[in-house]
Each structure stands twice: as C-alpha cells, then as structure tokens.
Amino acid sequence: MLAYRRGEPLRAGRFLAEAAALAARLPPGRHIINVCADRYRFALGLTAALLSGKVSLLPPSHTPEVVRHLRQFAPDVFCLTDSADCPIELPQVHCDDRPAPAQAWRVPALAPETLVAYVFTSGSTGVPVPHPKTWGRLAGCVRAGAERLGFAPGTALLATVPAQHMYGFESSVLLALLGGGALVAERPFYPADISAALAALPRPRVLVTTPIHLRAVLADQAPLPAVEQLVSATAPLDAALARSAEERFGAPLTEIYGSTETGQIATRRTALERPWTLWPGVSLTLESGRAWARGGHLEQPTPLCDELELLGDGRFHLNGRLADLVNIAGKRSSLAYLTHQLLAIEGVRDGAFFLPHRSAQAEHGVTRLAAAVVAPELTAAQVLAALRRRIDPVFLPRPLLRVGALPRNSTGKLPQEALRALLEPAAREGA
C-alpha cells in the first residue's frame, strides 16, 4: 500500500501510472513549486518532477514577496496546485490525480546525485537562501531516521504538518516512500479530526506531529486511538507533555531534531531522557561557540542555529536558540529578516521586530513577536496589510506599536530591553 485517502488504500501501481501521466503534462520549465495540500497529490507532483528531471522548490512561505524572489532564482518556475483558487502569481498546473490507465510499472531508479529539491530558509537580508538536496543524501538521512524509529514497512503515517516543510517532507513523504510505509492524503487539523483519521487507519500506524497539535489532542479527555509510535518535531517538546502523550496513546514518543540546512540529525525519547542522540556517522563540534554538524548524510560541515551543549558519545543537550532566530509553530525566521521586511514598506521610516518577555504567552506554548514602527502617515492596519504580503502570518507582530521614535542608544543600536520596555503599560499610554 502506498497511501490512504479517507481510509481507502491507494496502491503503488496506480500512483506510478498517475505520476507518469502528470509528468507528461507538466510544462517545460525545470523548477516546480508544489503547493498541493493533499499529501498524495504532493507525492505525485514530487514523483512527476523527478520522472521529468525537474527540481522542486520548497520555500518557507508563499507570500507574494517570497514568490517574487523565487521567480528571480528560477525564471522558468511554475506552480503545481490542487486548490481551485490558488493565489500564487505563477503559471499554474492543476493536480487532480485523475485515474490513469493501469500499466506495468517499476519503481524508478534515481542516481544519488540527482538534485531533488531546493529547500529555502528565509535568510537575514530579505532574500531566501536555497539549500540543495540530492536524492542520495535525502535518502541517507531518512533511512537513518527509519532505522532509529524502528519503522516497519506497511506502517501508515498520519501527519498534521504540511509536506512542503523539511520535517513533513522527510517524515511524512520520504519516510513513506523510502521506508515502505503508506502516507495519508489528509492533513487533519482539529483534535477530533486527528483522532478520527487515526482510527480510520489500519495498524501499524504512526502519528507525525508537533507540540502544538499534541497539546490540543491531549486537552480533550476522550479516549485516543492506539498507535505504534508518536513522532514530534518543529519545537522542543515539554517532558511532561511527552509522558502524557505516551500514556494516552500507549506508544513511545520520539522527538526529532533537525533543520532545513541539515535535515534530521538526532532524536530523543523525550518522556525518559533529556539528551539527544545523533544519527550514526554525524558528529558535532563547537567553533567559537557555534555548533557545527558534519558527516553522515551531510554534504559539508553545517552551522546550527541552536545553542547546543556537547556531551560526547554522539549526544548533546539543546539549550535554546541563538539570539536573532525565532521559531513559531515550526516556522523559522530571524528578527533581522523580519525587520528588513518591515523597513522595506513604503512610508515606514524606522522600525524593528523584537521578542516580548516569554512569561505572558509561554503558557500557551506559542510566543508571538512584537514590533515597533515609526510611520506617521500609515495606520497600524496599513502596516499589517503590507507585512502580510511579505511575511508568513505567524510572524505578524502582536502587538504592532506605532511610536514617534525607536529607543535607540547613543551608538544607534536598539537594545532588546529598551524595545521590550515599550510594551510596559506606562510607555504605551504615552504612545
């Protein structure tokens, strides 16, 4: 079985026939942005692209500003969508997985050096940064992960994360295709949807999810369907939440550590241990305080964006993120990038994004950003509307403070503390 949709099995023969039919009607451009929300269709688009020598572009978001940069990066880029009203301003191909005539099929062989995708990070200067991913290295990474999870062929993989981000790409699409598992077309959202979608799948079944979805599912006291395994990534998971998840689902929870740049490189059993264990062959070093990963499936030594404490024996503690970087619900950006986007808005004279104190929002597991802006001719709503065209909505500031001037010090720098002081009630009354 290759996939399930609404509990119905979809076989590999049908999948490959559909992928070949889709490949035959793709335009000649070599670059494809595959935004299919249905995971089966995403996998079809990925396979059709590979069959016709095309490269998938996986950007961090699809705002008009990001799409504009992708067009500069690859002028021949087109968009594969399964939505009737896809707003992306690119030539569009509709993916509807129309049944293709069944035919003899074989699994296509790909050379390890085949370029599969460019996965983009938002970078810090306003231009998304491409990270090339070859078949051999992606497969090496995902196979190491399958081994770590003890992933059994035939396992159904239900994921609450999109296929287009690195974690979902690896753990819900490639793990199914390479590990002999079955992906699930739907991406359930509400707790009741997640439970129902799991219950509709045959066992063995695995839930691939995030701390946000886990917390929501566990908040409901209704009995949960048994699974063989839980997988979480995107943001550090609280150990108590992990224990509760293991208890309620009756299965071990494996938390994965990785990044867009490196792919997945470590796991831990969060309910039982704090240290992370690296993939075999991957090692870490500290250089001037910055952790670098190398070896294994990594093409070159790669700096990490987190503060790590190396324990030896291929293990480490994760102690937090580097100062400028933010991670909201698994979406990464940097304060520098977001500030750059704010300053690029016509009518904005000065401005900055900053992190409010964690206390107020941390209990919900999601910390939102704040921003201060000097833009006398614009209303807050106008600034927000302009930002919405440029950045992913999870990064929109709450609040956006309109101020007469930013609290720059004598050298022109903007201390985070001074920015946070703007949030104090006294400061806001005067604003």
């Binding site: 509400y190 707790p191 929501a216 409901d220 929002q361 919900h364 999870v394």
Partner: protein, 99 residues
C-alpha cells in the same frame, strides 16, 4: 458531541450574550490586544480583520470544546463559515453546545 441533534440554546443565552462570552474567552485564550467589547461581531476572525491564524483557530477550538462541549471538525462543510465572524461562531456553538 456535534453529531447529536442540535439543541436550542438556553433561553437566558441570547445570541448577543453568547457572542460577548465567546469574545471574552477568545481574548483571554489568545492574549489579544483588544477588549472583548471592541471585537466587531461581523468582522472576519481569520486573516485580515482580527488577524487570527491557524494556531489561534486551534486554540479557539480547545476553548469551545472545553466550555461548550462542541467538537469542531474540518471536514464539516460549515467550517469556513464558522470562522467567518464571531457571530457565525456563536451561532454554531449555540446550535451544537452540549453544556
């Protein structure tokens, strides 16, 4: 559960009172910068308007489940309608609440 026959809202809960109660629950759950009474019951909750995103919608789903016993489902065809505005959400809760 939402699949049970819709029950009529208790008489003391006029639509407006439920709207206000929901607005207060949402403002508290999401730490919003507005006061509950300042939310226009007809304004869009998602995207422009109140500016909520999918993380917020999940949070609201938890609140609605906890306080009213209403379980939201995305394959509910009415779903996009529900989050169109505070008024729509209140109407849905009133029709499906179990406590």
């Amino acid at each position: 559960m939402s699949e049970l026959a819709p029950t009529l809202p208790p008489a003391h809960h006029t639509g407006q009172a439920l709207e206000h109660e929901l607005a207060e629950l949402i403002v508290a759950a999401l730490n919003l910068e507005v006061s509950a009474s300042a939310i226009d019951p007809e304004a869009r909750l998602y995207g422009e308007g109140l500016g909520l995103d999918s993380i917020d919608i999940l949070e609201i789903a938890l609140v609605v489940s906890k306080h009213y016993g209403v379980q939201l489902r995305a394959d509910d065809a009415a779903n996009t309608q529900i989050f169109r505005s505070l008024r729509q959400l209140a109407a849905y809760v009133a029709a499906h609440r179990t406590n």
